[in-house]
Symmetry: D2
Subunit: 361 residues, 4 copies
């Protein structure tokens, strides 16, 4: 009877949420109308980062298990789908911030010094949990990226550096997927031959293109050679290892093979969820890239070549991270090695049965 | 020297913001993964509502002044543009919530009882500030809409009922716009005749449509009669007054005329900002309608015909408000009375000059 | 050697595509700038309708087979996913058309008479292929919807009326899904009891809600009774049949059961694709509803209460179809009968095994 | 009486439009389901390009006149707004194409050889009309970009190279805008001093940042120096001229000043439309950049490092054009030189009056 009934406002802690917008320009006595938007949109970004981390953590737990079952992969796909829908909003809502013009921003920009988006702990956590390597980070201003994180939050970020990332767990899972053991079927040999034939065909296309001048043929052959050697490196475990040592690749040879198989034979029922999982990872990667690019464009327009509030030239930094901070680019690049279904080695029946549903009736 | 340097986390009060997600299902000992999303998205909605109110308040202050200057109207347009960009996100982010399925929601739905979105104080404020009338509200469950608002917040909502709404301020402003006084030019007479001729033409189109059967002609003529009488009511101040008395119209006759003039002669430089202002108001109205419709669809799929957590059948309520809670529908309906530029009475030169920029050189 | 090399322009037949914009206003000698947009956007809509029909036809062929295998369902999900992405664009691009104002439209509106969007053959095909029944169509102006279709295209539309629609093929497929035969497990009894207990609980919630006045309790109990009788009707094949006879339901009792099972036990691997298929069908339905609603709002603003170019009051028609022309609403409404996983009857092991992947190792 | 009544299908030339999808894979006897999408989406892109060119041409005509009046600028803003809404759709509909996977594309990719998106005449026209210089184009494969255009369309593209582009017309208009002649007010001097003071302040911020190590201070000072010298170059017509000669800048000194003034004093009524015009140009530029980036990401995923159907490594080309093919980047960069309103030299009253509306009453 006495129990207080739950209400919307208390449940959502709106008293805290809606009283957390303290304008620095107001402290100076000259409140800038647009500072409210600046605060609110960043709070919204951080709330969504929290949600993305919540989903990501759930995927990490799942893939950290000894054995990952089909429903686990399928659940992970749902989690990633949610992250993807959030990312689309992260990108689209840049348009809201763009209703603030460069001149409006100047009204309160100096009040923010020296705070900066660099200090977002959650975004660093998110990058680390995905698998961004410390050494792959764009080093800006000669300082470790953690230098701008608050002392009390540094520990969290350090832990996220040492824990298994989604990249690592993906690699482990790919390496041990059972459907890789195609006994009695020399998939790798047959596949290699099929690709080599395709590449020879492409070379002919270049050499015999009636539209090309001699210099163009030369030009395109050079491009093609890169494709060939990148393929040979993928086929050959030793070459692949060298590329990993030199930092040009990251995903192990065995995991790369497994990923390729999933892409090539995704029609097999048991490969549906793995295929969806790999596809969603590429989506997440692409959407963060797009977000960084959009963000960089917006910052350029807002402050031009000015020094960012945190002391960096924000726009250049953001732009440089867009491509470099990708984690799963090697999955996207596998399409280089796809071959048409018609050229694909057919799976022997006993393997096909193992990859299908078995329904007793 | 000792002054603590501002950092991102403190500036945005992230400690409060990011620790305000307390899962009710976790209190029971069985945390539901998706309750986090449910909380976060509603907090994001409330943050955006706060921002919309911030912009709306600024427009209200501007239009509450004795004289509204051109830069005021132009600034109001910017504020509305921002609201519009926010509304687009409010609609699009329903897709994020839709990644939660009906079965997932059931995992924690009972924990929310009896709290409900009905209790959003900010949304009520927003509706009142726009100008939604108490009597125009869909009455649900035979209870005043304020009954579900927390006691301490009721005062704010009551005040918003009694203060001048955007609808009222718009009406006042339209009624006193100087460019309505077309001395020496009988605009209203000439315009009336032009419309009547257009309507006669449309009647002919129906009567002589070779595709129509007799019953169709009859059917469409009935439709057309409604247009005619609605036009006559607009022309005639007394008829217009009657419609207002019977609750079928709300905007005064004089304001309606002014709005119509702005639409018809929007090419005149001095009418640019007024035209943009009216257009943006219609956008805001439409986007809230779309938001309610999207919301209703989502709720239907989530709970079907179940009783909402707050005790209402949420989907039906939301759907019924979509059209009924429009505030500026009469602006959109004015297009009924538009006539082609070619048929439009030409403005005499002395008036045209008054409506243009005057640049001394 | 002589073979003409394929080029982009010929491949896409751009000479035809880009010379198909003939402004009627130009024939009169006064080209209206915005008529180009009007033509182009409608051509884009029709191209996308063609693509949707292409995808839909492929799904229809698949489900018309004697036995639908898992990869078939999974492929159908991909096809629907594409339709969904197209639908989102159909909705969003209304914003492009809205850059044309009502006054701009008037410049060429009379030139279009009496052509009208009613005459879109492809949209009728699309509705019929989805499964919209002739009798469920809003009858506008007392005339069959096919009356406005061109003679030479009428045959296609008639055929689409008589061929198996997606609704019918879905129903057939649901009725024969093997995983419905839970031998030795009285699912339906156990499930019924679980729902009844849930509904009793909801009744208590209403009766004992301390916030409710007597009249409110009465009000909500009436709402609840509807839920109870709709549930009883679903449980009881005879009641269900009556609802079908009276036109209140359409999906057969057996198919309804199967759909419900898929929703409730979607975690089982073999039910993934069926669950995704049902979910995407609801998405398609919702998105067409949203499209109709957006369209209606836009038309209202464009022509107000005017008679449409085809002789109908377009806005009212479009609005009325938004909900009525839904085909898969009964799937969305099934959530009324969902119960929490914790309350769900557990599947016996021998059934669970049948629903999983069987991987020989 | 005998006159054939206009119908939807004839008006839109649907017979041509909907019969222009000829699958190359079908000619081989093995129709690839996804080739339909590939054709349709490219046709949709070309239809939108046509519409963009239609709007752009109208803006070009307007700005080619001897005197550009306020309503002209305002109309140009409307035209650009429409282009912007179209661009958003161009970007978003990439998602539709992404429902085609790399493996699906391989089914018909070879059939397309050697046609390629490079051959889109309309996109070249569009770039030239905006003002992309021949020399600024990424040269790919050592060949002029027109080499891939069909012979019969080459003339159009050549003409677009020689006609006044939007960039040039903008420059001319900016150079002659009357509101630049601030007689009796030494704006440029006062503004220069205000910026120099702001830059000195920023230097202090770097030197005295307690967070910076010595090397960081050095690093950021170097960044800052670039800002200073870029500012001095802007102030000094001779330095500016040098940058133009060296290809680092393009917009004339006088036009740059005018643009800056418009940004800084955009609150003045007469500057509203000019400000909106510059802002929309930046939007158009940004959105094409975003479109190229999205396109590049999509192509990378689709073909990886493969050679494009037209013989180029498409993804790398697209990515490199994203930033380089911007036309109005100098407008966005002007924000580098913005200063807060409070620091802005106040306009003398006699100038302010000239910039406002003059309303005789």
């Amino acid at each position: 009877m006495n129990k207080k009934l739950l209400n919307y406002s208390d449940y959502l802690k709106l008293e805290d949420i809606l009283n957390s917008q303290k304008l620095k320009s107001a402290e100076r006595g000259t409140p800038a109308h647009d500072e409210m938007l600046f605060i609110v949109i960043h709070q919204v970004y951080e709330l969504w980062f929290k949600q993305i981390i919540h989903e990501l953590d759930s995927v990490l737990v799942t893939f950290n298990k000894q054995s990952v079952l089909e429903p686990d992969v399928s659940l992970a796909v749902s989690r990633l789908n949610r992250i993807i829908e959030i990312q689309k909003i992260l990108i689209d809502q840049v348009r809201i911030l763009e209703t603030m013009t460069a001149m409006d921003f100047l009204e309160f920009r100096d009040d923010l010094f020296p705070s900066s988006g660099f200090q977002s702990t959650q975004f660093r956590l998110l990058e680390n949990k995905l698998g961004l390597l410390r050494d792959a980070r764009i080093n800006y201003g000669g300082k470790d990226y953690k230098a701008s994180i608050l002392e009390k939050e540094k520990q969290d970020v350090e832990r996220s550096e040492s824990e298994s990332s989604l990249f690592q767990l993906l690699e482990n899972w790919l390496e041990r997927t059972p459907f890789l053991s195609f006994e009695g079927f020399d998939f790798w040999d047959q596949y290699s031959e099929a690709v080599r034939s395709m590449l020879r065909n492409e070379e002919n296309v270049i050499r015999n293109n009636p539209n090309y001048s001699e210099s163009e043929v030369e030009y395109h052959l050079k491009e093609h050679e890169r494709a060939v050697s990148s393929f040979e490196a993928m086929i050959d475990p030793i070459e692949h290892e060298k590329l990993i040592d030199s930092g040009k690749k990251r995903l192990s040879h065995k995991a790369t093979q497994a990923a390729l198989l999933i892409f090539l034979y995704r029609e097999e029922p048991i490969l549906h969820s793995p295929f969806n999982f790999l596809s969603r990872l590429m989506d997440v990667d692409e959407l963060f890239t797009t977000w960084r690019q959009r963000h960089a464009l917006m910052v350029r327009r807002m402050i031009g070549g000015k020094i960012g509030t945190g002391g960096s030239s924000g726009h250049a930094y953001l732009k440089s991270t867009a491509d470099r901070h990708k984690v799963f680019a090697e999955l996207a690049d596998l399409s280089t090695f796809f071959i048409p279904r018609s050229a694909l080695p057919a799976l022997p029946d006993h393997i096909k049965q193992n990859l299908g549903y078995h329904f007793k009736s």
